[in-house]
Amino acid sequence: MAECAFLFSHFLPENRGNKEIPFNFRSQYFYFIKMELFKKIIRFYRDGFANMPKWGKQVWLVILIKLFIMFVILKIFFFPNFLKTNFSNDADRSDHVLENLTNINK
Protein backbone atom coordinates (compact mmCIF):
# COMPACT_ATOMS: atom_id res chain seq x y z
CA MET A 1 0.00 0.00 0.00
CA ALA A 2 2.81 2.38 0.87
CA GLU A 3 4.28 1.84 -2.57
CA CYS A 4 0.92 2.57 -4.21
CA ALA A 5 0.62 5.80 -2.22
CA PHE A 6 4.13 6.77 -3.29
CA LEU A 7 3.47 5.88 -6.90
CA PHE A 8 0.31 7.89 -7.14
CA SER A 9 1.40 10.76 -4.87
CA HIS A 10 1.59 13.08 -7.91
CA PHE A 11 -2.14 12.85 -8.32
CA LEU A 12 -2.91 13.96 -4.77
CA PRO A 13 -4.48 17.46 -4.75
CA GLU A 14 -1.92 18.86 -2.27
CA ASN A 15 0.98 17.81 -4.54
CA ARG A 16 -0.48 19.16 -7.76
CA GLY A 17 1.82 21.75 -9.28
CA ASN A 18 4.60 20.96 -6.79
CA LYS A 19 7.75 21.11 -8.95
CA GLU A 20 9.90 19.48 -6.24
CA ILE A 21 8.20 16.15 -6.85
CA PRO A 22 9.32 15.12 -10.32
CA PHE A 23 6.60 13.40 -12.24
CA ASN A 24 8.20 10.35 -13.74
CA PHE A 25 5.59 7.66 -13.72
CA ARG A 26 7.77 5.12 -15.53
CA SER A 27 10.75 5.25 -13.19
CA GLN A 28 8.46 5.17 -10.16
CA TYR A 29 6.57 2.26 -11.61
CA PHE A 30 9.80 0.28 -12.04
CA TYR A 31 10.91 1.29 -8.56
CA PHE A 32 7.63 -0.06 -7.24
CA ILE A 33 8.02 -3.31 -9.17
CA LYS A 34 11.61 -3.71 -7.95
CA MET A 35 10.59 -3.11 -4.34
CA GLU A 36 7.79 -5.65 -4.65
CA LEU A 37 10.19 -8.20 -6.14
CA PHE A 38 12.74 -7.52 -3.43
CA LYS A 39 10.08 -7.98 -0.74
CA LYS A 40 8.91 -11.18 -2.38
CA ILE A 41 12.46 -12.54 -2.36
CA ILE A 42 12.89 -11.62 1.30
CA ARG A 43 9.57 -13.29 2.15
CA PHE A 44 10.57 -16.32 0.09
CA TYR A 45 13.77 -16.83 2.07
CA ARG A 46 12.15 -15.92 5.43
CA ASP A 47 9.36 -18.47 4.97
CA GLY A 48 11.81 -21.04 3.69
CA PHE A 49 14.05 -20.74 6.72
CA ALA A 50 11.08 -20.53 9.11
CA ASN A 51 9.56 -23.78 7.84
CA MET A 52 12.82 -25.66 7.73
CA PRO A 53 12.68 -29.22 9.11
CA LYS A 54 14.99 -30.52 11.83
CA TRP A 55 17.58 -31.91 9.43
CA GLY A 56 17.72 -28.55 7.63
CA LYS A 57 18.44 -26.75 10.90
CA GLN A 58 21.11 -29.34 11.72
CA VAL A 59 22.94 -28.89 8.43
CA TRP A 60 22.78 -25.12 8.72
CA LEU A 61 24.32 -25.41 12.19
CA VAL A 62 27.07 -27.57 10.71
CA ILE A 63 27.60 -25.02 7.90
CA LEU A 64 27.87 -22.09 10.32
CA ILE A 65 30.27 -23.91 12.67
CA LYS A 66 32.33 -25.04 9.68
CA LEU A 67 32.54 -21.55 8.18
CA PHE A 68 33.50 -20.10 11.57
CA ILE A 69 36.27 -22.65 12.02
CA MET A 70 37.52 -22.13 8.46
CA PHE A 71 37.44 -18.37 8.13
CA VAL A 72 37.93 -17.21 11.72
CA ILE A 73 40.19 -19.84 13.27
CA LEU A 74 42.03 -21.59 10.43
CA LYS A 75 42.46 -18.69 8.02
CA ILE A 76 43.56 -16.14 10.61
CA PHE A 77 45.66 -18.27 12.96
CA PHE A 78 46.93 -21.12 10.84
CA PHE A 79 46.81 -20.10 7.18
CA PRO A 80 48.18 -16.62 6.61
CA ASN A 81 49.02 -16.01 2.95
CA PHE A 82 52.80 -16.33 3.11
CA LEU A 83 53.64 -13.85 0.34
CA LYS A 84 50.99 -11.30 1.30
CA THR A 85 52.02 -11.37 4.96
CA ASN A 86 55.77 -11.18 4.46
CA PHE A 87 56.03 -8.81 1.50
CA SER A 88 54.38 -5.47 0.97
CA ASN A 89 54.23 -5.36 -2.84
CA ASP A 90 54.24 -7.57 -5.92
CA ALA A 91 57.79 -6.57 -6.89
CA ASP A 92 59.14 -7.90 -3.57
CA ARG A 93 57.02 -11.04 -3.92
CA SER A 94 58.30 -11.76 -7.40
CA ASP A 95 61.90 -11.12 -6.25
CA HIS A 96 61.42 -13.60 -3.41
CA VAL A 97 59.99 -16.30 -5.70
CA LEU A 98 62.69 -15.63 -8.29
CA GLU A 99 65.28 -16.09 -5.55
CA ASN A 100 63.69 -19.40 -4.55
CA LEU A 101 63.46 -20.59 -8.13
CA THR A 102 67.06 -19.81 -8.92
CA ASN A 103 68.63 -20.89 -5.64
CA ILE A 104 66.58 -23.53 -3.95
CA ASN A 105 69.31 -24.47 -1.46
CA LYS A 106 69.07 -21.26 0.53
Binding site: G56, W60, L74, F82, K84, S94, V97, L101, T102, I104
Partner: protein, 525 residues
Protein backbone atom coordinates in the same frame (compact mmCIF):
# COMPACT_ATOMS: atom_id res chain seq x y z
CA UNK B 1 69.90 -28.46 -5.90
CA UNK B 2 66.69 -30.05 -4.85
CA UNK B 3 68.24 -31.97 -1.96
CA UNK B 4 68.45 -28.71 -0.01
CA UNK B 5 64.73 -28.83 0.70
CA UNK B 6 63.49 -30.48 3.88
CA UNK B 7 61.88 -33.70 2.64
CA UNK B 8 59.68 -34.07 5.69
CA UNK B 9 58.21 -30.59 5.05
CA UNK B 10 57.43 -31.55 1.44
CA UNK B 11 55.92 -34.86 2.47
CA UNK B 12 53.77 -33.36 5.24
CA UNK B 13 52.61 -30.56 2.90
CA UNK B 14 51.75 -33.16 0.26
CA UNK B 15 50.04 -35.32 2.86
CA UNK B 16 48.00 -32.39 4.10
CA UNK B 17 46.93 -31.40 0.59
CA UNK B 18 46.08 -35.01 -0.26
CA UNK B 19 44.05 -35.38 2.94
CA UNK B 20 41.98 -32.25 2.32
CA UNK B 21 41.55 -32.92 -1.40
CA UNK B 22 40.44 -36.51 -0.80
CA UNK B 23 37.97 -35.51 1.90
CA UNK B 24 36.66 -32.73 -0.36
CA UNK B 25 36.23 -35.29 -3.13
CA UNK B 26 34.03 -37.45 -0.90
CA UNK B 27 31.33 -34.78 -1.10
CA UNK B 28 31.77 -33.42 -4.62
CA UNK B 29 30.97 -36.38 -6.92
CA UNK B 30 27.70 -37.14 -5.15
CA UNK B 31 26.66 -33.48 -5.51
CA UNK B 32 27.50 -33.46 -9.24
CA UNK B 33 25.72 -36.70 -10.06
CA UNK B 34 22.77 -36.57 -7.69
CA UNK B 35 21.87 -33.08 -8.95
CA UNK B 36 21.40 -34.48 -12.47
CA UNK B 37 19.48 -37.54 -11.23
CA UNK B 38 17.12 -35.30 -9.22
CA UNK B 39 16.61 -33.11 -12.29
CA UNK B 40 15.71 -36.18 -14.37
CA UNK B 41 13.28 -37.38 -11.68
CA UNK B 42 11.65 -33.96 -11.45
CA UNK B 43 11.38 -33.81 -15.25
CA UNK B 44 9.45 -37.10 -15.07
CA UNK B 45 7.18 -35.54 -12.44
CA UNK B 46 6.53 -32.43 -14.52
CA UNK B 47 5.97 -34.48 -17.69
CA UNK B 48 3.67 -37.10 -16.15
CA UNK B 49 2.13 -35.17 -13.27
CA UNK B 50 2.56 -38.35 -11.19
CA UNK B 51 2.85 -37.39 -7.51
CA UNK B 52 5.03 -40.43 -6.83
CA UNK B 53 7.79 -38.85 -8.92
CA UNK B 54 7.44 -35.67 -6.84
CA UNK B 55 7.85 -37.72 -3.65
CA UNK B 56 10.87 -39.49 -5.14
CA UNK B 57 12.42 -36.20 -6.25
CA UNK B 58 11.91 -34.65 -2.82
CA UNK B 59 13.50 -37.56 -1.00
CA UNK B 60 16.68 -37.61 -3.10
CA UNK B 61 16.73 -33.83 -2.91
CA UNK B 62 16.94 -34.14 0.87
CA UNK B 63 20.01 -36.38 0.65
CA UNK B 64 21.47 -34.05 -1.98
CA UNK B 65 20.89 -31.10 0.38
CA UNK B 66 22.65 -32.81 3.28
CA UNK B 67 25.63 -33.78 1.15
CA UNK B 68 25.83 -30.33 -0.45
CA UNK B 69 25.61 -28.53 2.88
CA UNK B 70 28.24 -30.64 4.60
CA UNK B 71 30.58 -30.53 1.62
CA UNK B 72 30.19 -26.87 0.74
CA UNK B 73 33.33 -24.77 1.27
CA UNK B 74 35.52 -27.78 2.09
CA UNK B 75 37.43 -26.93 -1.10
CA UNK B 76 38.27 -23.46 0.26
CA UNK B 77 40.78 -25.13 2.58
CA UNK B 78 42.78 -26.09 -0.51
CA UNK B 79 43.00 -22.42 -1.47
CA UNK B 80 44.24 -21.58 2.03
CA UNK B 81 46.94 -24.21 1.59
CA UNK B 82 48.03 -22.73 -1.74
CA UNK B 83 48.75 -19.40 -0.05
CA UNK B 84 50.47 -20.81 3.03
CA UNK B 85 52.16 -24.07 2.11
CA UNK B 86 52.60 -23.68 -1.65
CA UNK B 87 53.46 -20.01 -2.04
CA UNK B 88 56.15 -20.53 -4.72
CA UNK B 89 53.69 -22.53 -6.77
CA UNK B 90 50.82 -20.09 -6.22
CA UNK B 91 52.92 -17.17 -7.38
CA UNK B 92 54.47 -19.06 -10.30
CA UNK B 93 51.10 -20.12 -11.77
CA UNK B 94 49.68 -16.62 -11.44
CA UNK B 95 46.53 -15.89 -13.42
CA UNK B 96 46.43 -19.32 -15.01
CA UNK B 97 45.12 -20.72 -11.77
CA UNK B 98 43.57 -17.50 -10.51
CA UNK B 99 41.33 -16.84 -13.52
CA UNK B 100 39.50 -20.19 -13.62
CA UNK B 101 39.08 -20.19 -9.84
CA UNK B 102 37.70 -16.65 -9.87
CA UNK B 103 35.23 -17.61 -12.59
CA UNK B 104 34.25 -20.65 -10.55
CA UNK B 105 33.54 -18.51 -7.51
CA UNK B 106 31.67 -15.74 -9.24
CA UNK B 107 29.68 -17.50 -11.94
CA UNK B 108 29.03 -21.10 -11.15
CA UNK B 109 28.95 -20.98 -7.36
CA UNK B 110 26.49 -18.07 -7.21
CA UNK B 111 24.34 -19.60 -9.94
CA UNK B 112 24.28 -22.85 -8.03
CA UNK B 113 23.51 -21.21 -4.67
CA UNK B 114 20.67 -19.06 -6.03
CA UNK B 115 18.85 -21.91 -7.70
CA UNK B 116 19.38 -24.28 -4.78
CA UNK B 117 17.21 -21.95 -2.69
CA UNK B 118 14.41 -22.20 -5.25
CA UNK B 119 14.85 -25.97 -5.37
CA UNK B 120 14.33 -26.36 -1.65
CA UNK B 121 12.13 -23.39 -0.68
CA UNK B 122 10.10 -23.05 -3.84
CA UNK B 123 8.00 -26.23 -4.08
CA UNK B 124 4.64 -24.57 -3.50
CA UNK B 125 5.69 -21.03 -4.31
CA UNK B 126 6.82 -21.10 -7.92
CA UNK B 127 5.37 -22.87 -10.94
CA UNK B 128 6.36 -26.46 -11.76
CA UNK B 129 8.23 -25.33 -14.86
CA UNK B 130 10.16 -22.63 -12.99
CA UNK B 131 11.03 -25.09 -10.22
CA UNK B 132 12.24 -27.63 -12.75
CA UNK B 133 14.35 -24.96 -14.46
CA UNK B 134 15.91 -24.09 -11.10
CA UNK B 135 16.70 -27.76 -10.45
CA UNK B 136 18.36 -28.16 -13.84
CA UNK B 137 20.29 -24.90 -13.38
CA UNK B 138 21.52 -26.12 -9.99
CA UNK B 139 22.75 -29.31 -11.64
CA UNK B 140 24.39 -27.40 -14.49
CA UNK B 141 25.85 -24.83 -12.06
CA UNK B 142 27.35 -27.58 -9.88
CA UNK B 143 28.99 -29.19 -12.89
CA UNK B 144 30.19 -25.81 -14.18
CA UNK B 145 31.84 -25.23 -10.80
CA UNK B 146 33.77 -28.42 -11.36
CA UNK B 147 34.75 -27.34 -14.88
CA UNK B 148 36.93 -24.44 -13.73
CA UNK B 149 38.87 -26.30 -11.07
CA UNK B 150 39.39 -29.17 -13.52
CA UNK B 151 40.66 -26.73 -16.16
CA UNK B 152 43.20 -25.49 -13.60
CA UNK B 153 44.19 -29.05 -12.72
CA UNK B 154 44.46 -30.02 -16.40
CA UNK B 155 46.84 -27.12 -16.94
CA UNK B 156 49.10 -28.55 -14.25
CA UNK B 157 49.16 -31.87 -16.15
CA UNK B 158 49.74 -30.20 -19.54
CA UNK B 159 50.66 -26.50 -19.34
CA UNK B 160 49.40 -24.61 -22.41
CA UNK B 161 48.47 -21.06 -23.44
CA UNK B 162 51.08 -19.26 -21.33
CA UNK B 163 54.52 -17.69 -21.35
CA UNK B 164 56.92 -17.32 -18.42
CA UNK B 165 57.78 -13.73 -17.57
CA UNK B 166 61.05 -13.55 -15.57
CA UNK B 167 60.25 -10.04 -14.35
CA UNK B 168 57.13 -11.09 -12.51
CA UNK B 169 58.44 -14.67 -11.98
CA UNK B 170 55.01 -15.79 -13.16
CA UNK B 171 53.35 -17.70 -15.89
CA UNK B 172 51.27 -15.26 -17.89
CA UNK B 173 48.24 -16.39 -19.80
CA UNK B 174 48.42 -15.62 -23.52
CA UNK B 175 45.37 -17.59 -24.57
CA UNK B 176 42.43 -18.17 -22.24
CA UNK B 177 40.75 -20.37 -24.87
CA UNK B 178 43.80 -22.56 -25.25
CA UNK B 179 43.76 -23.13 -21.49
CA UNK B 180 39.99 -23.73 -21.41
CA UNK B 181 39.75 -25.96 -24.48
CA UNK B 182 42.96 -27.88 -24.01
CA UNK B 183 42.10 -31.52 -24.89
CA UNK B 184 43.44 -32.57 -21.48
CA UNK B 185 41.00 -30.17 -19.77
CA UNK B 186 38.05 -31.22 -21.91
CA UNK B 187 38.67 -34.95 -21.38
CA UNK B 188 39.37 -34.47 -17.69
CA UNK B 189 36.13 -32.55 -17.21
CA UNK B 190 34.07 -35.11 -19.10
CA UNK B 191 35.70 -38.07 -17.37
CA UNK B 192 35.41 -36.57 -13.90
CA UNK B 193 31.79 -35.50 -14.23
CA UNK B 194 30.64 -38.70 -15.93
CA UNK B 195 32.37 -40.79 -13.24
CA UNK B 196 30.56 -38.66 -10.65
CA UNK B 197 27.27 -39.53 -12.36
CA UNK B 198 28.22 -43.20 -12.02
CA UNK B 199 28.94 -42.75 -8.30
CA UNK B 200 25.63 -40.97 -7.67
CA UNK B 201 23.70 -43.64 -9.62
CA UNK B 202 25.28 -46.35 -7.48
CA UNK B 203 24.40 -44.35 -4.37
CA UNK B 204 20.73 -44.17 -5.45
CA UNK B 205 20.60 -47.89 -6.32
CA UNK B 206 22.36 -48.87 -3.08
CA UNK B 207 19.98 -46.88 -0.84
CA UNK B 208 16.96 -48.09 -2.85
CA UNK B 209 18.19 -51.69 -2.44
CA UNK B 210 18.18 -51.17 1.32
CA UNK B 211 14.48 -50.18 1.17
CA UNK B 212 13.65 -53.27 -0.88
CA UNK B 213 15.53 -55.48 1.58
CA UNK B 214 13.56 -53.85 4.41
CA UNK B 215 10.35 -54.31 2.36
CA UNK B 216 9.68 -50.58 2.66
CA UNK B 217 8.67 -48.11 -0.08
CA UNK B 218 9.26 -50.74 -2.74
CA UNK B 219 7.59 -48.80 -5.58
CA UNK B 220 9.65 -45.73 -4.72
CA UNK B 221 12.80 -47.86 -4.64
CA UNK B 222 12.09 -49.58 -7.96
CA UNK B 223 11.38 -46.33 -9.77
CA UNK B 224 14.56 -44.82 -8.33
CA UNK B 225 16.57 -47.86 -9.43
CA UNK B 226 15.23 -47.66 -12.99
CA UNK B 227 16.26 -44.00 -13.36
CA UNK B 228 19.63 -44.52 -11.67
CA UNK B 229 20.42 -47.74 -13.56
CA UNK B 230 19.72 -46.23 -17.00
CA UNK B 231 21.56 -43.02 -16.16
CA UNK B 232 24.39 -44.93 -14.49
CA UNK B 233 24.78 -47.36 -17.39
CA UNK B 234 24.95 -44.59 -19.99
CA UNK B 235 27.33 -42.59 -17.78
CA UNK B 236 29.59 -45.58 -17.17
CA UNK B 237 29.88 -46.29 -20.91
CA UNK B 238 30.69 -42.62 -21.45
CA UNK B 239 33.19 -42.73 -18.57
CA UNK B 240 35.02 -45.57 -20.31
CA UNK B 241 35.14 -43.53 -23.53
CA UNK B 242 36.39 -40.36 -21.81
CA UNK B 243 38.82 -42.41 -19.73
CA UNK B 244 40.21 -43.79 -22.98
CA UNK B 245 40.72 -40.24 -24.29
CA UNK B 246 42.36 -39.24 -21.00
CA UNK B 247 44.69 -42.25 -21.21
CA UNK B 248 45.75 -41.11 -24.69
CA UNK B 249 46.41 -37.61 -23.32
CA UNK B 250 48.60 -39.14 -20.62
CA UNK B 251 50.47 -41.30 -23.15
CA UNK B 252 51.23 -38.21 -25.21
CA UNK B 253 51.92 -35.62 -22.53
CA UNK B 254 52.88 -37.60 -19.42
CA UNK B 255 54.50 -40.76 -20.79
CA UNK B 256 56.21 -41.48 -17.46
CA UNK B 257 52.85 -41.59 -15.69
CA UNK B 258 51.51 -43.84 -18.45
CA UNK B 259 54.46 -46.24 -18.13
CA UNK B 260 54.15 -46.23 -14.33
CA UNK B 261 50.46 -47.06 -14.18
CA UNK B 262 51.04 -50.01 -16.52
CA UNK B 263 54.27 -51.10 -14.82
CA UNK B 264 56.02 -50.85 -18.19
CA UNK B 265 59.76 -50.70 -17.61
CA UNK B 266 61.05 -51.36 -21.13
CA UNK B 267 59.13 -50.09 -24.10
CA UNK B 268 58.45 -52.02 -27.29
CA UNK B 269 56.11 -52.16 -30.25
CA UNK B 270 52.72 -53.81 -29.91
CA UNK B 271 52.66 -53.71 -26.12
CA UNK B 272 50.00 -55.64 -24.23
CA UNK B 273 47.76 -54.20 -21.55
CA UNK B 274 48.20 -55.70 -18.08
CA UNK B 275 44.58 -56.46 -17.21
CA UNK B 276 45.47 -57.83 -13.79
CA UNK B 277 48.82 -57.94 -12.04
CA UNK B 278 50.53 -58.24 -8.69
CA UNK B 279 54.03 -56.99 -7.91
CA UNK B 280 56.57 -59.19 -6.19
CA UNK B 281 58.95 -57.95 -3.51
CA UNK B 282 62.02 -58.14 -5.79
CA UNK B 283 63.27 -55.24 -7.88
CA UNK B 284 64.04 -55.36 -11.61
CA UNK B 285 66.72 -52.76 -10.98
CA UNK B 286 68.70 -53.18 -7.72
CA UNK B 287 69.44 -49.43 -7.79
CA UNK B 288 65.76 -48.53 -7.84
CA UNK B 289 63.43 -50.24 -5.39
CA UNK B 290 60.48 -48.48 -7.04
CA UNK B 291 60.66 -50.84 -10.03
CA UNK B 292 59.34 -54.20 -8.79
CA UNK B 293 58.99 -57.37 -10.83
CA UNK B 294 55.53 -58.76 -11.46
CA UNK B 295 54.72 -61.84 -9.35
CA UNK B 296 51.87 -62.56 -11.77
CA UNK B 297 50.12 -60.72 -14.57
CA UNK B 298 47.41 -61.30 -17.15
CA UNK B 299 48.19 -59.39 -20.33
CA UNK B 300 46.00 -58.63 -23.34
CA UNK B 301 48.31 -58.47 -26.39
CA UNK B 302 48.77 -55.15 -28.26
CA UNK B 303 46.00 -53.35 -26.40
CA UNK B 304 48.26 -50.85 -24.61
CA UNK B 305 49.75 -49.72 -27.94
CA UNK B 306 46.25 -49.18 -29.30
CA UNK B 307 45.09 -47.44 -26.12
CA UNK B 308 48.04 -45.05 -26.25
CA UNK B 309 48.33 -44.26 -29.96
CA UNK B 310 45.36 -45.97 -31.69
CA UNK B 311 47.77 -48.29 -33.47
CA UNK B 312 48.03 -51.97 -32.47
CA UNK B 313 51.76 -52.03 -33.25
CA UNK B 314 52.81 -48.59 -31.97
CA UNK B 315 55.89 -48.21 -29.81
CA UNK B 316 55.06 -47.39 -26.19
CA UNK B 317 58.05 -46.08 -24.21
CA UNK B 318 58.81 -47.71 -20.89
CA UNK B 319 60.28 -46.09 -17.78
CA UNK B 320 63.84 -46.99 -18.81
CA UNK B 321 63.35 -45.50 -22.31
CA UNK B 322 62.17 -42.26 -20.77
CA UNK B 323 65.11 -42.13 -18.36
CA UNK B 324 67.87 -43.26 -20.74
CA UNK B 325 66.34 -41.94 -23.96
CA UNK B 326 65.70 -43.89 -27.14
CA UNK B 327 67.16 -42.41 -30.33
CA UNK B 328 65.32 -44.83 -32.61
CA UNK B 329 61.98 -43.49 -31.44
CA UNK B 330 63.11 -39.90 -30.87
CA UNK B 331 62.83 -40.00 -27.09
CA UNK B 332 65.04 -37.48 -25.33
CA UNK B 333 66.99 -38.78 -22.32
CA UNK B 334 66.35 -37.40 -18.85
CA UNK B 335 69.99 -36.27 -18.74
CA UNK B 336 69.46 -34.07 -21.82
CA UNK B 337 66.28 -32.63 -20.30
CA UNK B 338 68.17 -31.91 -17.07
CA UNK B 339 70.89 -30.09 -19.04
CA UNK B 340 68.27 -27.96 -20.80
CA UNK B 341 66.47 -27.26 -17.52
CA UNK B 342 69.71 -26.21 -15.84
CA UNK B 343 70.44 -23.90 -18.79
CA UNK B 344 67.01 -22.29 -18.33
CA UNK B 345 67.68 -21.81 -14.60
CA UNK B 346 71.11 -20.33 -15.38
CA UNK B 347 69.51 -17.79 -17.74
CA UNK B 348 66.98 -16.90 -15.09
CA UNK B 349 69.77 -16.53 -12.51
CA UNK B 350 71.70 -14.26 -14.93
CA UNK B 351 68.55 -12.17 -15.36
CA UNK B 352 68.09 -11.92 -11.59
CA UNK B 353 71.71 -10.83 -11.04
CA UNK B 354 71.55 -8.29 -13.87
CA UNK B 355 68.35 -6.86 -12.41
CA UNK B 356 69.85 -6.72 -8.92
CA UNK B 357 73.02 -4.96 -10.07
CA UNK B 358 71.03 -2.43 -12.08
CA UNK B 359 72.25 -3.61 -15.49
CA UNK B 360 68.97 -2.73 -17.14
CA UNK B 361 70.02 -3.31 -20.75
CA UNK B 362 71.41 -6.76 -19.97
CA UNK B 363 68.34 -7.64 -17.89
CA UNK B 364 66.00 -6.51 -20.69
CA UNK B 365 67.92 -8.50 -23.26
CA UNK B 366 67.81 -11.62 -21.07
CA UNK B 367 64.10 -11.10 -20.44
CA UNK B 368 63.45 -10.91 -24.20
CA UNK B 369 65.52 -14.05 -24.74
CA UNK B 370 63.76 -16.00 -21.97
CA UNK B 371 60.32 -14.97 -23.25
CA UNK B 372 61.12 -15.82 -26.88
CA UNK B 373 59.12 -18.76 -28.30
CA UNK B 374 62.35 -20.63 -29.18
CA UNK B 375 63.72 -20.43 -25.63
CA UNK B 376 60.36 -21.29 -24.09
CA UNK B 377 60.03 -24.34 -26.35
CA UNK B 378 63.61 -25.63 -26.29
CA UNK B 379 64.70 -24.76 -22.76
CA UNK B 380 62.00 -23.35 -20.52
CA UNK B 381 59.66 -26.25 -21.21
CA UNK B 382 62.28 -28.40 -19.36
CA UNK B 383 62.74 -25.83 -16.58
CA UNK B 384 61.71 -28.21 -13.79
CA UNK B 385 64.32 -30.79 -14.84
CA UNK B 386 66.97 -28.30 -13.80
CA UNK B 387 66.21 -29.11 -10.15
CA UNK B 388 66.62 -32.85 -10.62
CA UNK B 389 69.96 -34.49 -9.83
CA UNK B 390 68.90 -38.13 -9.47
CA UNK B 391 66.98 -39.40 -12.49
CA UNK B 392 65.31 -42.09 -10.36
CA UNK B 393 63.29 -39.34 -8.71
CA UNK B 394 61.59 -38.75 -12.09
CA UNK B 395 59.69 -42.00 -11.68
CA UNK B 396 56.47 -41.82 -9.64
CA UNK B 397 55.53 -44.64 -7.29
CA UNK B 398 54.90 -47.48 -9.73
CA UNK B 399 52.98 -49.60 -7.23
CA UNK B 400 50.58 -46.80 -6.21
CA UNK B 401 50.04 -45.70 -9.83
CA UNK B 402 49.55 -49.26 -11.07
CA UNK B 403 47.17 -50.40 -8.35
CA UNK B 404 45.08 -47.20 -8.31
CA UNK B 405 44.65 -47.38 -12.11
CA UNK B 406 43.75 -51.06 -12.12
CA UNK B 407 41.38 -50.83 -9.15
CA UNK B 408 39.61 -47.93 -10.92
CA UNK B 409 39.35 -49.82 -14.24
CA UNK B 410 38.27 -53.16 -12.76
CA UNK B 411 35.61 -51.44 -10.63
CA UNK B 412 34.51 -49.40 -13.67
CA UNK B 413 33.88 -52.63 -15.59
CA UNK B 414 32.04 -54.11 -12.60
CA UNK B 415 29.81 -51.00 -12.45
CA UNK B 416 28.66 -51.52 -16.05
CA UNK B 417 27.61 -55.08 -15.22
CA UNK B 418 26.05 -53.87 -11.98
CA UNK B 419 23.85 -51.29 -13.77
CA UNK B 420 22.76 -53.84 -16.38
CA UNK B 421 21.78 -56.34 -13.68
CA UNK B 422 19.97 -53.66 -11.66
CA UNK B 423 17.97 -52.62 -14.72
CA UNK B 424 17.27 -56.19 -15.81
CA UNK B 425 16.06 -57.37 -12.39
CA UNK B 426 13.94 -54.24 -11.85
CA UNK B 427 12.29 -54.31 -15.26
CA UNK B 428 11.56 -58.02 -14.80
CA UNK B 429 9.92 -57.10 -11.50
CA UNK B 430 12.07 -59.62 -9.64
CA UNK B 431 14.66 -57.48 -7.94
CA UNK B 432 13.21 -58.22 -4.48
CA UNK B 433 14.03 -61.91 -5.03
CA UNK B 434 17.71 -61.22 -5.62
CA UNK B 435 18.74 -60.54 -2.07
CA UNK B 436 22.40 -61.19 -2.79
CA UNK B 437 22.34 -58.54 -5.50
CA UNK B 438 20.55 -56.12 -3.17
CA UNK B 439 23.20 -56.65 -0.49
CA UNK B 440 25.90 -56.24 -3.15
CA UNK B 441 24.24 -52.98 -4.25
CA UNK B 442 24.64 -51.54 -0.75
CA UNK B 443 28.30 -52.59 -0.63
CA UNK B 444 28.89 -51.16 -4.09
CA UNK B 445 28.45 -47.63 -2.66
CA UNK B 446 31.87 -47.63 -0.90
CA UNK B 447 33.38 -49.27 -3.99
CA UNK B 448 32.18 -46.34 -6.11
CA UNK B 449 33.93 -43.95 -3.72
CA UNK B 450 37.03 -46.13 -3.83
CA UNK B 451 37.11 -46.04 -7.66
CA UNK B 452 36.61 -42.27 -7.63
CA UNK B 453 39.42 -41.70 -5.13
CA UNK B 454 41.70 -44.08 -7.03
CA UNK B 455 41.23 -41.92 -10.14
CA UNK B 456 42.55 -38.90 -8.31
CA UNK B 457 45.37 -40.84 -6.64
CA UNK B 458 46.49 -41.95 -10.10
CA UNK B 459 46.23 -38.40 -11.45
CA UNK B 460 48.16 -36.77 -8.64
CA UNK B 461 50.63 -39.45 -7.49
CA UNK B 462 51.27 -40.51 -11.09
CA UNK B 463 52.51 -37.06 -12.09
CA UNK B 464 55.13 -36.88 -9.35
CA UNK B 465 57.73 -35.46 -9.01
CA UNK B 466 55.92 -32.65 -10.82
CA UNK B 467 53.46 -30.18 -9.40
CA UNK B 468 53.39 -28.60 -12.89
CA UNK B 469 54.41 -31.13 -15.51
CA UNK B 470 58.09 -30.62 -16.49
CA UNK B 471 58.09 -27.04 -15.19
CA UNK B 472 58.02 -27.22 -11.41
CA UNK B 473 58.85 -30.16 -9.18
CA UNK B 474 56.82 -30.47 -5.99
CA UNK B 475 59.89 -29.71 -3.90
CA UNK B 476 60.35 -26.32 -5.58
CA UNK B 477 56.71 -25.41 -5.04
CA UNK B 478 56.62 -25.67 -1.28
CA UNK B 479 56.93 -22.73 1.14
CA UNK B 480 59.78 -22.96 3.61
CA UNK B 481 57.74 -22.94 6.80
CA UNK B 482 58.19 -25.12 9.86
CA UNK B 483 57.27 -28.78 9.41
CA UNK B 484 55.61 -28.82 12.83
CA UNK B 485 53.16 -26.10 11.71
CA UNK B 486 52.12 -28.29 8.78
CA UNK B 487 51.83 -31.31 11.08
CA UNK B 488 49.53 -29.40 13.46
CA UNK B 489 47.20 -28.30 10.65
CA UNK B 490 47.29 -31.80 9.11
CA UNK B 491 45.84 -33.28 12.31
CA UNK B 492 43.44 -30.37 12.72
CA UNK B 493 42.06 -31.07 9.27
CA UNK B 494 41.92 -34.77 9.92
CA UNK B 495 39.75 -34.08 13.00
CA UNK B 496 37.54 -31.45 11.33
CA UNK B 497 36.89 -33.42 8.17
CA UNK B 498 36.30 -36.68 10.01
CA UNK B 499 33.79 -34.88 12.25
CA UNK B 500 32.07 -33.44 9.16
CA UNK B 501 31.94 -36.85 7.54
CA UNK B 502 30.47 -38.44 10.68
CA UNK B 503 27.90 -35.60 10.88
CA UNK B 504 26.94 -36.14 7.24
CA UNK B 505 26.61 -39.90 7.60
CA UNK B 506 24.55 -39.56 10.80
CA UNK B 507 22.16 -36.93 9.41
CA UNK B 508 21.85 -38.82 6.14
CA UNK B 509 21.26 -42.19 7.80
CA UNK B 510 18.51 -40.66 9.93
CA UNK B 511 16.77 -39.28 6.83
CA UNK B 512 17.15 -42.60 5.03
CA UNK B 513 15.58 -44.38 8.02
CA UNK B 514 12.70 -41.87 8.04
CA UNK B 515 12.32 -42.55 4.34
CA UNK B 516 10.38 -40.90 1.54
CA UNK B 517 7.03 -41.19 3.30
CA UNK B 518 7.88 -38.48 5.77
CA UNK B 519 6.50 -35.17 4.59
CA UNK B 520 8.27 -33.10 7.25
CA UNK B 521 11.80 -33.66 6.24
CA UNK B 522 11.81 -33.39 2.50
CA UNK B 523 10.86 -29.94 1.48
CA UNK B 524 13.37 -27.46 2.80
CA UNK B 525 17.02 -27.18 3.58
Amino acid sequence: MIEGIDLSLVNWSRGQFALTAMYHWIFVPLTLGLAIIIAIMETLYVKTGNQEWKRITKFWMTLFGINFAIGVATGIILEFEFGTNWSNYSWFVGDIFGAPLAIEGILAFFMESTFIAIMFFGWNKVSRGFHLTATWLTAIGANLSALWILVANAWMQKPVGMVFNPESARMEMISFWEVLFSPVAVHKFLHTTSSSFVLASIFVIGISAWYILKKRDVVFARKSIVVAAIFGFLSSIYTVSTGDSSARDIANHQPMKFAAFEGLYNGSEGVGLVALGVFSSTETDPMNENLKDFAMKIEIPNVLSYMAFMDWDAFVPGINDLINGNKKYGIMSAAEKITRGQFAIQKLTAYKLAKKSGETTKADSLKTEIMSPEFQKNYFSYFGYGYISDTHTLVPSVAISFYSFHIMVVLGMYFILFFLLALFYTLKGKIHKHRLFLHAAIWTIPLAYLASQCGWVLTEVGRQPWVIQDLMPTMAAVTKISTSAVQVTFWLFAIIFTTLLIAEIKIMMRQIKIGPKSEGGTTHV
